[in-house]
């Protein structure tokens, strides 16, 4: 990896994802004098203390004032700096949205927003601190690139890619530790390119963030217990979406499930659905995520289970989807679609 800083699987199990972000940021600060770090009284929580120690003159704590932070970051970027402004995802995407929209996206400046405590990863804090709408909001912002890395290793790569790519970025990471899905940094991370984590031809699970690990576990169960071959795509970049990978999955597996630690409205599932519908291709499809309600309070892993975006929940939903038939298949088979009850077909074993 260019620039020297890479993380191994061992390190990434010892470090919280935000700590890896903090170390990466600090290394970027060593390499590039234009990198600056901003926080709104969350330097500790967002783990950017390293940067503060090494580059105190390029570290700015604006106090509990997110609107100000993103405005200041935009002004700095207008003058050639590369500000990394971290906050909890819920505040980065909602509290300061007007500044993100107008000062950062409209002016199209080089500000990198790092949203920590993404999804329900700060589950016990309750809905004031859950970020379950950030994809929907941020995905709608013009000029914005939206990334939700799967683990610490991918976070380091995403942060580095953001620093090297002009324009606004929003990178959502979790609080605490993430299950490691990569053993090396050397898997060819590219913004906007999905990573195939598991090959499969019966169904594709498209996931991001925490749900990538869960989907990989689900794929193992599906393979071992049900003889279902599930492809797993790590769609770390939600915008711009890797449409090619989505449509390839539709062509080759004809069943697609999305999994995200986010409301099912407007996030990864919606982005994938839009792509599929606009392609005209037929496909059985299901979005997994948080239904249209505020999440319960609880441990992250419990909430993932509650929302059926843990391995067991994904398995359950994939099995249900395997039973579903869909119109294009029926037409191809020459069946009278007016007499079919879509969603109840049992026979999926002959497909692909």
């Amino acid at each position: 990896m260019a620039g020297g800083l890479s993380f191994t699987a061992v390190e990434s199990t010892k470090l919280a994802t935000a700590e890896i972000y903090g170390k990466t940021l600090s290394a970027l600060g060593d390499e590039n004098p234009n990198v600056v770090a901003l926080t709104a009284d969350l330097a500790g929580s967002t783990k950017i203390g390293d940067f503060k120690e090494k580059h105190p003159d390029r570290f700015f704590n604006v106090g509990i004032a997110e609107q100000n932070m993103y405005g200041v970051a935009a002004g700095m970027a207008k003058c050639g700096l590369i500000p990394f402004a971290s906050s909890f995802s819920v505040f980065a995407s909602l509290r300061a949205l007007d500044q993100v929209h107008t000062d950062i996206c409209y002016q199209n400046v080089n500000v990198k927003i790092i949203g920590t405590h993404g999804g329900t990863s700060f589950g016990q804090a309750g809905s004031t601190h859950h970020a379950i709408e950030d994809f929907a909001v941020v995905r709608g912002l013009v000029n914005m690139t939206l990334i939700c890395p799967a683990d610490g290793i991918e976070t380091a790569l995403a942060v580095r890619a953001a620093a090297n790519t002009p324009g606004p970025f929003y990178i959502r990471i979790n609080r605490g530790f993430d299950n490691t899905v990569y053993s090396t940094s050397d898997y060819g991370f590219q913004v906007g390119k999905a990573v195939t984590m598991n090959e499969g031809n019966d169904v594709t699970i498209i996931a991001c963030g925490s749900c990538v690990y869960q989907s990989m576990q689900a794929a193992k169960i599906l393979e071992n217990d049900y003889n279902i071959s599930a492809r797993v795509l790590n769609m770390h970049t939600i915008k711009p979406l890797d449409k090619e990978a989505v449509l390839k999955a539709v062509d080759e597996t004809r069943r697609v499930v999305t999994a995200e630690d986010h409301t099912i409205i407007g996030g990864l599932g919606s982005a994938v659905a839009e792509t599929i519908v606009e392609s005209g291709k037929g496909c059985a499809f299901k979005r997994l995520g948080i239904p249209d309600k505020f999440s319960a309070i609880g441990l992250h892993e419990d909430l993932l289970a509650m929302h059926e975006i843990d391995a067991a929940g994904i398995v359950k939903n994939v099995l249900e989807l395997m039973k579903a038939d869909f119109e294009a298949e029926a037409v191809k088979k020459g069946l009278d679609i007016t007499k079919l009850n879509f969603g109840t077909a049992e026979d999926w074993t002959d497909e692909v």
């Binding site: 609107q67 100000n68 002004g75 700095m76 207008k78 003058c79 700096l81 500044q99 107008t102």
Partner: protein, 289 residues
């Protein structure tokens, strides 16, 4: 240092030309934010033609002073100003507000060369300007950043978040000028949402304040000069202005935040501005040294 008589008269002529071209642009556009544009005319003239290190031939010079117009709704005077400076073609002013034009009510810095920021959502300029000022510090540059705030937008909490941070970071290279025209869309500032004691608020946030007549070119120039020398505390200049100044029926009337001119009003406005120019120049001739 007071303005010399010659310079004062020159600046008065520039400001008067700008007011005329602003009125003309409002007429071409059919309507516009005439009130707050007129109240800012003298501040803009002093910054762009005297105090800011800004060369319209090198609008991207990294060492230029930055000017953030937080009251972004005054595009209808900024566009004429940038036309005066040669950064917008005069002919383009005729397209102001028209479909497909580069120039709309709130200007886009990615479409107008030399404009340092896109503003329009109020209360944003302060943080942008602070970011620019802090960037100079990080990069070891000497430029100043000027911030023009509307008084009504000081209702926004984000203005005070940035004010607190400006004083905290001792960003003395950031000079705040409030166009205190006492009006906002729904009424007078003190009726809609009381700002007074306004100067005390800035003082309490850690600023040195200078209150001046925002239409006295000499006083205002002097205040900006003083502010540029600030070392301990950032300076906020509260420029006491008149919304719609120079146009008899609009002056001081909040209803002229945004307006349109029929033929009779246009005629009156043109005559008023002519008279106002003469008065202002007479004053410069009389008081200038």
């Amino acid at each position: 240092m007071p303005l010399t008589k010659k310079e004062w008269v020159e600046l008065e002529n520039k400001a008067a030309d700008l007011r005329d071209l602003c009125l003309q642009t409002v007429i071409w556009a059919g309507s516009g934010h005439v009130g707050g544009s007129m109240s800012s005319a003298d501040i803009l003239t002093l910054l762009y033609y005297k105090h800011a290190n800004f060369d319209p031939k090198k609008p991207e010079d990294p060492d230029r002073d930055r000017i953030v117009v937080s009251k972004g709704h005054i595009g209808v005077i900024l566009a004429p100003l940038f036309a005066q400076l040669g950064l917008v073609e005069h002919e383009q002013l005729k397209t102001f507000n028209l479909t497909g034009s580069k120039l709309g009510i709130h200007l886009d810095c990615n479409k107008v060369r030399g404009l340092d920021s896109s503003t329009g959502s109020l209360g944003h300029g302060s943080a942008l300007a602070l970011g620019m000022a802090l960037a100079a510090r990080v990069k070891g540059q000497k430029y100043k950043t000027f911030l023009i705030l509307g008084d009504g937008e000081c209702d926004e909490g984000s203005v005070w978040e940035a004010a607190m941070a400006t004083a905290h970071f001792k960003a003395t290279d950031l000079i705040t000028i409030v166009d205190r025209n006492h009006c906002m869309i729904d009424g007078n500032t003190e009726d809609v949402m009381r700002l007074e004691p306004f100067e005390d608020k800035w003082k309490a946030f850690g600023f040195e304040t200078i209150v001046v007549d925002g239409h006295n070119m000499n006083q205002l120039s002097d205040a900006i000069e003083k502010a540029k020398k600030a070392k301990d505390k950032p300076v906020c200049i509260i420029a006491d202005t008149v919304k719609g100044c120079g146009i008899s029926f609009a002056a001081g009337n909040y209803k002229w935040h945004y307006g349109a001119f029929d033929a009779a009003k246009e005629q009156t406005a043109r005559e008023d501005l002519k008279k106002y120019r003469a008065e202002r120049i007479a004053r410069a001739e009389k008081e200038g040294i």
